[in-house]
């Protein structure tokens, strides 16, 4: 187990920045800005929208099955959580702020676990501050999109994995896969991190299949227990089709920054099942190759797969991309190996400017049409894709390392 650094090791003035950022989002959630952003399609998808969550809670508290009809698509676990906490804005604001705080802290912790015991951990605070200040993470939190909570779950699961704490990590991933089904693909790299640790190891680590199997069995157990709990909360199996089913079948074609919605709005009806299958299975094919190629650094494989899921999931929000870009900060060693960093950065800038603009032009001003927003989601997809490709390339190169008088070539 890596050595934990005490709080005294933080540079105290630097801690002010994350604290201020948290305070800012807390006050903004309580401000009128939050209701205004709440139904923005880029910040909250039908699976994560706070308005729909409130509708589901309303039904649940009236004793009506909230999963009848197509409005409520949050997981029963989320439903259970929110029926327990009092429905006042202050509590929601606190919950989302704390979740973001935990996510940022986890990011710093993961970084520390990766570099320990080398320890120049000023970067941890920097990573946390960047995570908290990035609009892709900041705005969904202000909009009370539950994707911010999903991010917190994912980072917390990763933190526990980095600290070799098997059960908390697996429980958190299981919980996460109830609100975001594609995240279940992160299980293989997570198991590898649990087995080999978060640091790159030069001789390939020995993965014991027996332990791996035990971990997977434990995860399966948690999934079964949580499924049972969900069935208990929801009272019927209707939630399966409305939450997990929606991820695969895409019944709600509300625009989002992802690639699915316009594709399936325009899809010919007879090809719909085929392309739904293709799009659903597409991220699956990357899991094994990534894990095999990055056996020496499972955290990097986790990062790449998280990027692929963020880019290709059916109901992404901006916070998915935000999380992926934030995770990039954990791997500073690859920066020098980027091939086209400028192009990628410009693509991101381009998308960040075009997405809100064209969304507004299409749906509010009525002066643009759907193609405008579709084009900007394509650019966004291209930007995310090229980031992954860049990171993959740089990650493969940085493994080899550099030596004076030697050059890395590919065979």
């Amino acid at each position: 187990m890596p050595k934990r650094l005490s709080g005294a090791a933080y540079a105290r003035p630097a801690l002010l920045i994350p604290a201020l950022l948290l305070l800012l989002r807390f006050s903004l959630i309580l401000s009128p800005l939050s209701p205004w952003l709440r139904d923005d399609h880029q910040l909250a998808s039908p699976l994560t929208s706070f308005t729909r969550l409130k509708e589901g809670i309303w039904f649940f508290q009236k004793g009506i099955d909230p999963y009848h009809g197509g409005v409520f698509r949050h997981s029963p676990l989320t439903l259970a959580l929110f029926t327990l906490i009092p429905p006042i804005p202050l509590v929601s604001a606190l919950l989302w702020t704390v979740a973001d705080g935990i996510a940022a802290w986890c990011l710093a912790e993961i970084w520390r676990a990766r570099i320990a015991p080398r320890g120049h951990d000023g970067r941890g605070v920097l990573l946390a501050s960047l995570y908290l200040s990035k609009p892709y993470n900041f705005l969904p939190t202000v909009a009370l999109s539950s994707s911010s909570l999903d991010n917190a779950f994912l980072l917390l699961a990763l933190r526990f994995a980095a600290l070799q704490q098997v059960s908390p990590s697996l429980i958190l991933l299981a919980v996460l896969s109830f609100s975001s089904l594609p995240s279940i693909l992160l299980l293989p790299p997570l198991v590898m991190i649990l087995l080999a640790g978060p640091k790159p190891t030069v001789p390939l680590p020995k993965y014991s299949p027996k332990t791996a199997l035990r971990i997977v069995a434990e995860f399966a157990l948690y999934m079964v227990v949580l499924t049972g709990a969900s069935r208990f909360v929801a009272g019927s199996w209707g939630w399966v089709l409305q939450t997990w089913g929606a991820t695969v079948m895409l019944p709600d074609l509300t625009p989002n920054p992802g690639l699915w919605w316009y594709f399936f709005t325009e899809m010919f009806d007879q090809y719909r099942p085929f392309f739904l299958l293709t799009f659903s299975l597409h991220p699956l094919i990357y899991v094994a190759p990534m894990c095999l190629k990055f056996q020496h650094d499972p955290l990097f494989a986790f990062f790449l797969l998280q990027g692929i899921i963020s880019t290709f999931k059916s109901y992404p929000t901006l916070s998915d991309a935000g999380l992926y870009i934030s995770l990039l900060g954990i791997f500073p060693e690859i920066y020098s190996h980027f091939r086209h960093p400028l192009v990628t950065a410009l693509l991101h800038l381009h998308a960040a400017l075009l997405l809100p603009l064209f969304h507004y032009l299409w749906l509010d001003a009525g002066t643009g049409n759907a193609n405008f927003f579709y084009a900007s989601t394509l650019v966004f997809g291209l930007a995310n894709g090229s980031t992954i490709v860049e990171a993959l390339w740089a990650g493969l190169h940085s493994t080899i390392g550099e030596k004076e008088g030697w050059e890395v070539v590919q065979l």
Binding site: D39, D40, T51, K54, E55, W58, F59, I64, H68, G69, G70, V71, P251, D252, L253, T254, P255, L259, W261, Y262, F263, F264, T265, E266, M267, F268, D269, F275, H282, P289, K293, T311, W362, L363, D364, G366, N369, A370, N371, Y374, L378, G381, L382, G385, I388, V389, L392, W393, L396, H397, T399, I400, G401, G405, W406, E407, V408, V409, Q410, L411
Partner: protein, 589 residues
């Protein structure tokens, strides 16, 4: 070439004689029919309105008795399906009731049916709220009975409840298709998208036998219009077509240029007082609101000016043929009805009744006002006791649906408010708020039943409210506008979708009646108040893009896949850089 003028001349002489013979025979037949329980009566009600317009309502009423003991109470003209021959034969023989319609009803076991097709906007402030369907567009609802409905209900309980009873081949679908064919209306194209099963609204207007298993289906077709092609098959159902009786006045050119016009078909089952048998009542209706002021600047009207036709002979099949004129009250200037007749008071309404069962010459009835010009500004309108206004606001994000119900009476009123929305509009019920003059009054909601939309079936919201005396109740809720597939859009997608009218049913005060008979069913035609229809603008995709989108999105995925697997399948090695011989390095790799 046969001598046409000669033929015409002969016919001119012969026709009156033939008509007389026909009339005599008709009378004999009528007596025969009445013994067998079939009756036909017709009436035309003219109602001068406060703003100078004239509301005309044609009602053609059929009634057919059915004896009990056939084991199938309530069935239209008791279809004998046991196969003892004479029963079936008798049932299929109708002399007055239109066979095409009764056959449909019998096939699908429909006990009560209401179909109306209207065009125009009903102005409740100026025209009042008379009973009857005044919904803009098409509306249809039917109560189904018998084993088929029962069987489906049981099936539905076990298995899929979603589609039971309204899918392909169900009685409802069959009846809709049949009526669409009969009246040349495009009702059947969107039945599933339009059909709801209200729990509280649209109670039967007639009597239904007491055993369970009766199911109600309702559908509203807000964009369905009505035109000559609907009236022609309608007239064919009448025993005298449009050749005799008051149906002679139904001139499509005039009716369909009226401010409001529509046709309606209503079938009811009424029990006998003894409860042994009952009778089927069929009412065919044509409603039109004419505007004589538009033509002459005056309120004066006559049958000739309204319809450009007059009644030349009576329908021999009709047992009664009445023309009623409601006399205007509370108007300053005098009016003159000709031919003059004594004014009677029926249900508090002064009216003049003309009997048209023995018409020997052209009948024209006219009303003249003692004024040179009708002055709109002097007209005094009494706001209706109950009224509803509805609007939808907002562009992106959830829109706000606001409904204003106003009660002008000094007593509280209970009402049932029914909202049906297409599946792509979902209500956020947690945002449902009731306000009275700015003060939140959520306690006014007495009961709420809600059926969330399951694509492609519509949302149904039924809300029982208590309206305080002399108040305006504001109901607001947020509505999420969905995004639908490009194939689900209408051909004229940019025009928007018509939302069906909301309906308000006045309810008896709580405790006055058994709670089961929510809206008063015993009083015959229950009052309903319809809001206007709304047009909702849905964001549209580009309909020319399918190929482009498939190509571009797939290209992106393929590019990514290619790059990733290109990198993943490569092997990187360190190679000693030989500064002297770069060519060799190239060879080495």
């Amino acid at each position: 070439m046969p001598p046409l003028p000669l033929l015409a001349l002969i016919l001119t002489f012969l026709l009156p004689a033939l008509a007389e013979v026909g009339q005599e025979r008709g009378q004999r037949q009528r007596q025969g029919r009445e013994q067998r329980g079939e009756q036909f009566s017709e009436s035309l009600t003219l109602r001068p309105l406060l703003d100078g317009k004239v509301h005309t309502r044609f009602a053609f009423e059929f009634s057919a008795g059915a004896e009990s003991g056939t084991g199938r109470e309530g069935q239209l003209a008791d279809g004998d399906e046991d196969g003892d021959g004479d029963g079936a034969d008798a049932a299929l023989h109708t002399t007055l009731l239109p066979l095409s319609l009764t056959q449909l009803l019998r096939t699908y076991d429909a006990r009560e049916l209401h179909l109306s097709l209207n065009a125009g906007k009903w102005d409740a402030l100026r025209w009042g709220n008379p009973s009857g369907a005044l919904r803009t567009g098409g509306e249809m609802w039917a109560w189904f009975a018998g084993e088929s409905a029962l069987a489906e209900q049981e099936q539905g309980k076990e298995g899929e409840r979603v589609n039971a009873g309204e899918g392909e081949g169900s009685p409802w679908q069959g009846l809709t298709n049949g009526l669409a064919g009969l009246f040349c209306a495009s009702l059947s194209s969107q039945t599933v998208q339009r059909t709801t099963e209200p729990l509280h609204a649209f109670r039967p207007e007639g009597d239904l036998p007491s055993h369970p298993g009766y199911r109600l289906f309702h559908a509203a077709f807000p964009s369905e219009s009505v035109c000559t092609e609907n009236l022609t098959p309608f007239l064919k159902l009448l025993p005298c077509k449009s050749r005799a009786g008051i149906a002679q006045l139904l001139n499509p050119h005039k009716v369909f240029s009226a401010d409001w016009h529509g046709v309606g078909v209503h079938v009811l089952w009424k029990n006998d007082t003894l409860g042994l048998g009952g009778r089927t009542e069929l009412r065919l209706e044509v409603n039109a609101v004419f505007d004589p002021v538009r033509v002459s600047g005056k309120r004066d009207w006559s049958l000739r000016t309204l319809f450009d036709r007059s009644i030349t002979r009576s329908c021999p099949a009709a047992s009664s043929s009445l023309l009623k004129v409601h006399m205007p009250t509370g108007s300053a200037s005098g009016h003159l009805l000709s031919p003059p007749l004594e004014t009677l008071l029926t249900d508090g309404v002064p009216e003049v009744v003309y009997d048209l069962s023995q018409v020997s010459e052209d009948v024209d009835i006219s009303m003249r006002w003692e004024e040179d010009k009708f002055d709109h500004s002097k007209a005094q309108f009494n706001p209706p006791e109950l009224s509803i206004r509805r609007s939808l606001k907002g562009s992106s994000g959830p829109s706000q649906l606001s409904v204003i119900l106003s009660n002008t009476l000094p007593i509280p009123r209970r009402v049932l408010y029914v909202e049906t929305l297409p599946w792509f509009l979902s209500l956020y019920l947690h945002t449902l708020h009731v306000q009275v003059s700015g003060v939140s009054r959520d306690d006014l909601i007495q009961s709420l039943s809600y059926l969330p939309p399951v694509s492609p079936k519509p949302t149904l919201l039924e809300l029982t409210l208590l309206l305080p005396p002399q108040s305006e109740v504001h109901i607001t809720m947020q509505v999420e506008k969905g995004f639908i597939r490009y194939t689900e859009h209408q051909p004229d997608a940019s025009r928007g979708w018509d939302l069906p009218a909301a309906v308000v049913f006045p309810l008896p005060p709580l405790g006055a009646k058994d709670s089961h008979s929510l809206p008063d069913s015993a009083e015959g035609s229950q009052q309903r108040i319809y809001s206007s229809t709304l047009l909702v603008d849905l964001p549209t995709p580009d309909f020319s893009m399918p190929y482009n989108v498939i190509i571009m999105s797939s290209t992106l995925v393929a590019l990514f896949f290619g790059h990733v697997f290109n990198s993943l399948t490569r092997k990187f090695v360190l190679l000693k850089v030989d500064a002297v011989e770069p060519e060799k390095k190239a060879e080495g790799s």
